[in-house]
Every structure is written in C-alpha cells, then in structure tokens.
Symmetry: C2
Subunit: 335 residues, 2 copies
C-alpha cells in the first residue's frame, strides 16, 4: 500500500543555527517542499541583513535545491512601513512572540494590544505580510492559551485585513474561535495531535515530550484532531519541530521542544489512516497552506509505503519523538 503526498509543507519549523542547523536542516529539506523558518535565534532575526544571511546558512545546510525556506522576521514594534516594504520580498511572514514566553523570546512584545501595535500591524496589513503569533499569556501554564484568546479576537477585529495565524494551537478554546473571524488561521503540530499532559507527566516525566505550549487535556486534543483530520480549510500543518541536544532535555532544567521533523510525514499518514481520513491529509499537509498563504511551492512528491520504519534513537545529539520505536509507514521515495 502506498500514498503519495504532493509538496508537503511544514508551516512552523525551528532550524536553529550553526552546528544544530547543519545537523537538522537536511532532515526537513529532504521530505518537505518548503517550511516556514522561525526567527527566534539568539539574537533574533530582526533586520533584512539577518534574514538574507540566515537564509543563506539554511540553504547551505539543507543541501537541497528542491526545498524552499520561507523566512520570517521576529516581530518588533518599531518596524515602520518603509522597512516592511523593503523587507517584504525577503520574508514570508512575521512572527510575534510575547516576551519571555518560550525559547529565545526574551526580545518579544511585552504588551500585545491593538492600540500600541497599531502602526506596525496596519503597515503589515497594507503590505499583506501575514502575522504568525505564539499565543500564550503569562498565566498558569494550563491556562495560557485560553487566556490569549481575547487577544486573538482583539487583533482579528481591529486588523481585519491582516492575516493572523494562531501558531501551534493546543486547546479547544483556540479551535472554537477559528471560524468566528475570517482573518484567523491556525497551525497544528504533530505532537499536539498525539499527546496530552498525561503523556508528559502522567506516568514518568517525559522531557522529550515537553513543549510550549504544553500538551493539554483530552478534550483539547480531540478538538485539534477534529480540525486536522477533517482538513479544516483554515488549518495547516506546522510541526514546531524544535531540536535540542539530549543534555539540554535530560537535565535539571529541560528545554521546551519536541523533535518531529524526520518522522512527521510517516506518523501523520499512520494517524490519518487510523481515523480513516487519509483522503484529507493532502489538504492538511499542503493544499490548505498554499491557499491560505497564496503561494506555490516547489514541486515534490513524497511516496510512503506501509512498511515498518524504526525511528533512530537519535539524530546526532537530538532525540526524536518515538526514538527507537516502530512506525507503520516509511518514506520509500522522493521525487
């Protein structure tokens, strides 16, 4: 049994920099046609020069001409119209982080309200630059995304021409507002379709499943599955695959992030097959994103066959999700 995925897209990817970039970029570039590359380096990507130079490093590391890194800027409220106009040809979107909310987000925005962000967001609206948002408050870890919902609603209402992507949604609350605002969209990760807090902390504590936003409750996962499996047209796959060295995960203070890039397609096929929704995977993995972002990716066909794939224990010093476990599907060819 085979399935062919056309132009798979990862609409939320962390490739980091330097040695880590060199270690992981190829894994995504092999099986994806394009990926949105997150800008939360240290220091973050905030200038056109940063974007150009980071893209060059990504291209070199990905060693793959049939892969397009879709570059982003790290949102700063001092970006003016002229800057954004010049930046537009180099970027695909701008990513907004609340300050300090996740890995390397210290330089993010302290107060996200439509009044203080007005000039920048109006310029982005006019220039048709999409806004990707890490939507979490500073509240209790299980409530952070729920508490951010009014901020999404406020932004969506006040900037109706701005395309706003709720990144890596993890709750029913976020799923529920998706259809209320025409300009709201969402990405969903692989791991949030699979795990709940029980998998992270219900038995032994599993640092390799620790991520931000943290995995939530069963009813939340159910809401995400409902969107993804039915290929809701406003929802795209974004792995949020985030590599950390093993010793940064298995330590007295474990970094947030699940590494799924090299196994995402195989596991998605297994998941959609299990729910008898294989017909919808093409939309979730590529077509929806093309429509939402209005772009045409490099042509790439990934053929998967129902043949066991043993996930490596590690990719370099990074432990992937399902390390050492047997998946039902493997990638048999890419063209």
């Amino acid at each position: 049994m085979q399935i062919i995925l056309k132009n798979p897209l990862d609409m939320h990817l962390h490739l980091r920099d330097k040695d880590m970039l060199k270690a992981v970029a190829e894994l995504s570039s092999k099986s994806f046609s394009a990926a949105i590359i997150m800008p939360n380096l240290l220091p973050p990507i905030t200038t056109i020069e940063d974007v150009i130079s980071y893209k060059k490093r990504v291209d070199e590391a990905s060693k793959n001409t049939s892969f397009k890194p879709l570059m982003t800027l790290f949102f700063k409220n001092n970006y003016d119209f002229e800057f954004l106009k010049s930046a537009k040809e180099h970027i695909f979107a701008i990513k907004l982080y609340p300050a300090g909310i996740t890995t390397n987000s210290q330089d993010g925005v302290n107060s996200i309200d439509s009044e203080s962000l007005k000039d920048t967001l109006e310029a982005m609206s006019e220039l048709e630059i999409p806004l990707c948002v890490h939507g979490e408050s500073e509240g209790f870890v299980m409530d952070r995304e729920k508490e951010f919902v009014p901020i999404y609603e406020n932004l969506a209402t006040n900037f109706p021409k701005l395309k706003i992507i709720m990144e890596h949604i993890t709750t029913k609350d976020s799923a529920d507002i998706l259809d209320k605002y025409p300009n709201l969209y969402a990405t969903i990760t692989l791991h949030h379709l699979l795990i709940t807090l029980d998998d992270v902390a219900g038995g032994m504590l599993k640092p390799h499943l620790f991520c931000k936003p943290i995995a939530k409750r069963y009813e939340d996962r159910e809401a995400l599955l409902n969107l993804a499996l039915n290929a809701h047209p406003k929802v795209m796959f974004g792995s949020d695959s985030a590599p950390h060295p093993q010793d940064a995960k298995e330590s007295c203070g474990c970094a947030a992030g699940v590494f799924t890039a090299p196994i995402a397609l195989q596991v998605l096929v297994e998941l959609f097959e299990k729910h008898s929704k294989l017909d919808n995977l093409q939309k979730f993995i590529s077509d929806n994103a093309q429509k939402i972002y209005n772009f045409e990716p490099i042509s790439k066909s990934v053929t998967l066959e129902k043949k066991p794939f043993i996930v490596p224990d590690a990719y370099g010093e990074v432990i992937p999700m399902y390390a050492g476990e047997k998946l039902k599907w493997s990638i048999s060819s890419i063209s």
Copy 2:
C-alpha cells in the same frame, strides 16, 4: 532569632532500602522524632516478618536512638482479622495504594469500593489501625485527586470508626471535604505548600520538582497553605520526601518524588514566618499528629536560628529541593 520545635514528626516518609536507605535514613532521623515509613518497596511490605526486618534495617541505617520509625504495611485486601491482630503491635498504620498509581504501587488495589474492601477495613476499624491512602484515580493527571474525592467520602461514610488519612493532599477539593467527615484527616507535604504546576512545567521542565500527585493550581496551593498555616487540627506534616538517584530524575523518563527531608524544617520555619504564622508551626509539625494518632513521640528539641543555610548540591547521589540555594534558617542544635 531562634525557634525551638519540639518532637518534629514526618507523617509520610520514603526511605527505600539498601544503599538508598543507608544514604538518607540518617538525614530524617537526626531532625525528626519519628516518621511514618512508607511500605512501597519492591516487593512491598506485606508480612509481619517484612515489617520487623525492614524496621531493623531502618534502625540500623538511621544510626539514631532518638528516632522512631513508625512502620506500615502495604494494604492487601486479603489481610484477615487474625493477621491484623498479630500485626497491630508492629505497625502504626496501613497504607493503601490504587494499583499502579505511583512508584512501586503495582501490587495495590484495583478497585477501591467499600463493599469489596469491607472485611479488611472493618477489621482495621475494630483493631483501631489507621488507614493511610494515596488518593488518586486513573484519570487525567490534573483531575486524579479530585476524582478520588467520592471514594474518600464513601470510605469515610461506610467505615465511620476507621481513621482515614488522605495522604499528601494537593487540591482544594480534598481540603474541602476534611471537615465534612469526623474520621478524615490529611497530611500535606512541604513541596505542595510551595509549588504549582508552573514551577514544574511553566518555564523549563524541572524533573526534581516532579512528584505524584503532581503539583496543581494556585488556588489549590492556597487551600493547602490555609490549612497548614492555621494548623488545622486534622492536618499533619508529611514530607513524602522521596529520594531517587540523580540519573533516575534527569533522564528520558524521570521518576516521581521530591527529596525534602534534610531541608523540611528550615523551609517550614521560613514559610510560616513569612506568613506570620510561626506560632502555629508546632501544631502542624507535631502536636496535631500526636492527637490524631494518639501517641507520644520520643522527646527531641530542634533549635533553628535565623542564619543562612546553603542547601548542598546533592546528598550522595540524591538532589534535594533547593539544591545549592540559600535558605534563611538553619538548624543550630538538636537535643
């Protein structure tokens, strides 16, 4: 500034066995007058011979004649009246674990209902053997204790003469039923008075703060603080201090348990002082437990003074809570 604690009691302590027992027993025996020693070894303590032999090992390891280990049996539903009658002089209480709910609880009870446990619990009632309970369901990790509340209520109602101790309560739900049933009591740990899930998983993931039951929400911690700081007469200190080697905590599957035994008194004084409730600490740390269990501990005076204490980075291979941090109070003398 000094404070003297008379006969401090730890009404819930894990000492484990073998090398770990030798490494940690002395730390509790030095500063506590007595402690209830949990029976969840591998295999668990289920016979009188087990109790006698484990007590001997604890006595040897604790190297301290002014410390009394209060031994327990691991609840099995086949304990009959005659067995319990013979066991009574050797034990202080019996600890009931739902099967598989925490460390070494595989041999626990699968279904906790008053009908199936009737014979054993009636025998315990008649013999006045207290029942200590790990009260968690098999549900979602944040709901497990809440879901166990009806079971506590059922047991308390059906066995009105049985002294039931809700061990290491972590939620407002448990706090709320304490006064509804005359035969319900509770222990509270140090760490559940201090942390919430935010401390475990809100920033970096902190394996050394991972415990079962998992730390809950702010309103839950508030309810526990309210009980402890006001020395509610049905509430006792029980550290649930649980040593694990560093490599069992900082790994791809981290064991549950926070190691607080050697720092508990110092931190409790700091906490009660901060809330201007120092006058109530004696009751929480000893007097309440003496009344609830109706016993008289070995006389011991622990003097603490307001002088910084730097918590060691490790006790042997065990990382304590607040490792390397500075506490405000230290133990100056024990007599």
